[in-house]
């Protein structure tokens, strides 16, 4: 039986997540766990001190057993995993408080690929500007900009495609439709 070094996967996948969040729009690879890059990310992020919400088709039971996180609703979860970009759920996630802005939700969203709306990204982590395509619509851009309008409050969103590639936009990232 092929053995898996989960901790090695975690440290490699964390570095990819750290790199894409520190430079919004950058694309990196995620190594699969249990044939799923989505579960690999969940396994990297979740542990007993954090809570999560997931509604989708992936089999989360094993990840839950390994990582022992708390389950929470969309209004209280630290990490919200989505099989597809759901604006209703996005609008519900917590954005932190002025005193504790880190007590906010981070979104991990599956997508087919990164093709979609052409947007211009500006903000920290971006060398002046970056024009990319994101699997989002105009309405999401409005929601995202509105939720992140009062910095430091807001959310980070990671997009994961079927090629196991990941990219992120941060609460500091300004989206402008091209």
């Amino acid at each position: 039986m092929k053995s898996v070094d989960i901790e090695k996967l975690n440290r490699e996948n964390f570095r990819s997540m750290m790199n894409v969040l520190s430079m919004p729009g950058k694309i990196e690879k995620i190594e699969e766990l249990f044939n799923s890059s989505f579960l690999a990310i969940a396994n990297t992020l979740l542990y007993s001190e954090v809570s999560f919400y997931y509604e989708g088709k992936e089999e989360f039971e094993l990840i839950k057993a390994i990582t022992n996180p708390k389950e929470a609703d969309t209004k209280n979860a630290d990490y919200i995993f989505c099989d597809e970009l759901n604006e209703f759920i996005f609008n519900q996630g917590k954005i932190g408080t002025s005193i504790d802005p880190e007590r906010s939700s981070t979104y991990i969203v599956k997508c087919k690929n990164f093709k979609g709306l052409n947007v211009r990204l500006t903000g920290p982590g971006i060398n002046e500007r970056k024009d990319i395509s994101l699997p989002i619509n105009e309405s999401f851009v409005n929601s995202f900009n509105e939720k992140n309008s009062y910095f430091p409050l807001g959310n980070e969103v990671f997009f994961l495609n079927e090629e196991n590639e990941i990219l992120a936009i941060s609460r500091t990232t300004k989206l402008e439709i091209l």
Binding site: E7, L45, S48, P124
Partner: protein, 276 residues
């Protein structure tokens, strides 16, 4: 022993804080600091950050006061390499992770590099507001009037701020941040840096960060120029550099000599001159 010494839960806790710190540039994130087999004050914050982010592909450099060969740097490098078997280097350009105390390397950093600072005191407001919960409220309200008063008092009495290191900086136009005990000379290097900069304070249980390409400016009155240490007319006695942070060293005769504080920069300079 586990890879990188810390258990997986500890790493996940530090990683959670690092991601939040990157998302909120300059904001201080609390984390559950762990015990390490080095004394507090030896850089357990920086060490925990490095241990949480390092992997087999990395090339590690550790410097203390600009030097790869000081006791702190050597011990930390040996410890990390003994628990990770990761490659180490003294070359700034070859390193992927640089753990540092007191200095930012002279050579410009690149996008694929991460600079990890060992931080003794993470909150810049500590000097003007010792009550931590009040300081947190001041950060929440972006109320830095006490820092401005401190600067004003210095400027009115002495003509300029007396702060020689840990000079307060404003990150992304929002958070006043302690840039660790780097000299004023290094403060401009924080601005628009291509590398990710992560600051770890173990004793204080805090992590904060500056993502690449982030606006970082020293707190300064509009009519006052930000001045760094000047080494005008001073030359490194070893490599001849005229544009680096220099150490003043007295020899047995009482004569003063100047040497580059960044030893790798000095070595590289010397080598390139010898090859010409």
């Amino acid at each position: 022993m586990r890879y990188a010494f810390l258990d997986e839960e500890a790493k996940k806790e530090i990683r959670r804080s690092i991601l939040k710190a990157i998302a909120i540039p300059g904001y201080i994130v609390s984390f559950a600091s762990r015990e390490l087999p080095v004394a507090r004050g030896w850089g357990t914050g920086g060490l925990q950050v490095t241990l949480a982010i390092i992997n087999e592909e990395d090339n590690l450099k550790v410097i203390d006061q600009g030097c790869d060969g000081s006791v702190n740097a050597v011990n930390i490098r040996n410890f990390i390499s003994s628990v990770t078997k990761v490659n180490t280097t003294t070359s700034t350009t070859d390193a992927t992770i640089i753990q540092t105390r007191h200095r930012i390397p002279e050579i410009h950093l690149e996008e694929n590099q991460t600079l990890v600072f060992q931080v003794p005191m993470p909150d810049i407001l500590e000097t003007v507001e010792p009550n931590i919960s009040k300081a947190k409220l001041l950060h929440a309200n972006a109320d830095y009037s006490k820092l401005w008063v401190l600067l004003y008092e210095d400027t009115s009495q002495f003509g300029d701020s007396r702060i020689s290191n840990r000079y307060p900086v404003m990150v992304n136009n929002r958070y006043a941040m302690d840039p660790s005990p780097i000299p004023k000379y290094d403060t401009p290097k924080l601005n628009n840096c291509k590398a990710l900069q992560i600051f770890g304070a173990g004793r204080e249980k805090k992590i904060y960060a500056i993502p690449p390409y982030t606006n970082v400016v020293p707190l300064k009155f509009e009519d006052r120029e930000f001045k760094v240490e000047s080494f005008e007319n001073k030359v490194c006695s070893r490599c001849g550099s005229t544009h680096s942070f220099l150490d003043e060293v007295y020899d047995d005769n009482g004569d003063i000599h100047y040497y580059c504080n960044d030893t790798d920069f000095c070595d590289t300079n010397l080598k390139s001159k010898e090859n010409k």
